[in-house]
């Protein structure tokens, strides 16, 4: 396997990512308190996905890893999407 040296992430970056994650959590809690029906569910999930993206790319260093790591995670998301999609079509059109 090709040796790939990890670029050290600055502490400043860790602190700002932490602050963004905290703010997004509070935004999510605030959104949950107002009734928006279906829109609410998708807003909350979208914000959670942004948080997940930040954790994966910055905290888990995917941004600095070799391409193989990104192919791996893309494959994972594809499998999970097929898993959820197929289950839903089965349940909804039964």
């Amino acid at each position: 396997m090709m040796e790939h040296q990890q670029t050290p992430t600055q502490n400043k970056t860790y602190f700002s990512i932490w602050a963004v994650l905290v703010v997004l959590t509070l935004v999510n809690v605030a959104v949950s308190q107002i009734s928006l029906d279906t829109l609410k569910v998708w807003t909350i999930l979208a914000i959670a996905s942004i948080q997940a993206g930040l954790v994966l790319t910055i905290l888990m260093h995917l941004k600095h890893e070799a391409r193989m790591f990104r192919i791996g995670i893309f494959t994972l998301f594809l499998i999970v999407a097929i898993f959820i999609g197929l289950t839903f079509t089965d349940v909804l059109y039964r």
Binding site: M1, M2, Y14, L26, V29, K40, M60, G72, I84, F88
Partner: protein, 199 residues
């Protein structure tokens, strides 16, 4: 003298492969949740109101902070400050324990209200309400188990740093443990809105 074979990237990729399986494991529970929610939106709403949003929010903030401290532990090690790195590992463990203590009080309150898998109360209420709490206890229980494993793992890491077995030149065990810890955080980032906020 033996020749040392090392492949840090390979070791990290191996960890990622394991984390992929963890994601698949939790996605199974999320799919079950989504199906049950689609079937009983009303009862899921009622059940979710039994949970305390502030407890969930505080726990989310605790886990996010513990993700910060384990990252800082890595930075400290890279800067060759082993002692500081150990301190950050111990802070992470402390935060993880605080998370479990808050979770313990939450579960106690729910169990005190007769809400737990297989309870008489859940057998009498509507099925959607029971489904919510069965999934809630299973998902948070499995996640709590991961926190517990993380506490043991990071304790071992702190010990290895102290012994000089994890160094700036060979940080892989700390790096992989941090990856695991971030994943536990990642799972909670979805568990929290699904159970506390959405229904």
């Amino acid at each position: 003298m033996s020749i040392e074979h090392r492949d840090d990237t390979g070791a990290r990729f191996g960890m990622w492969l394991f984390l992929y399986t963890e994601v698949i494991l939790f996605s199974g529970l999320f799919v079950l949740y989504a199906m049950a929610l689609a079937k009983n939106p009303q009862q899921f709403g009622e059940a979710s109101h039994e949970l305390k949003i502030y407890a969930g929010t505080v726990n989310t903030l605790i886990l996010l902070t513990s993700s910060l401290t384990i990252s800082l532990a890595m930075s400290a090690l890279q800067a060759d400050r082993a002692k500081q790195s150990i301190t950050f590992c111990l802070t992470t463990i402390g935060l993880a324990m605080t998370f479990l203590i808050i979770k313990y009080f939450e579960w106690s309150a729910e169990i005190g209200h007769g809400i737990y898998p297989g309870s008489k109360h859940l057998a009498e209420v509507e099925s959607g309400f029971a489904a919510f709490f069965n999934l809630y206890f299973f998902t948070t229980g499995l996640h709590g188990l991961h926190i517990l494993i993380g506490i043991v793992l990071i304790s071992v890491v702190a010990g290895l740093i102290a012994k000089g077995r994890i160094t700036p030149e060979r940080p892989t065990i700390l790096v992989n443990s941090a990856l695991y810890w971030h994943l536990v955080d990642l799972v909670w980032i979805f568990v929290f809105p699904l159970y506390y906020l959405i229904p």
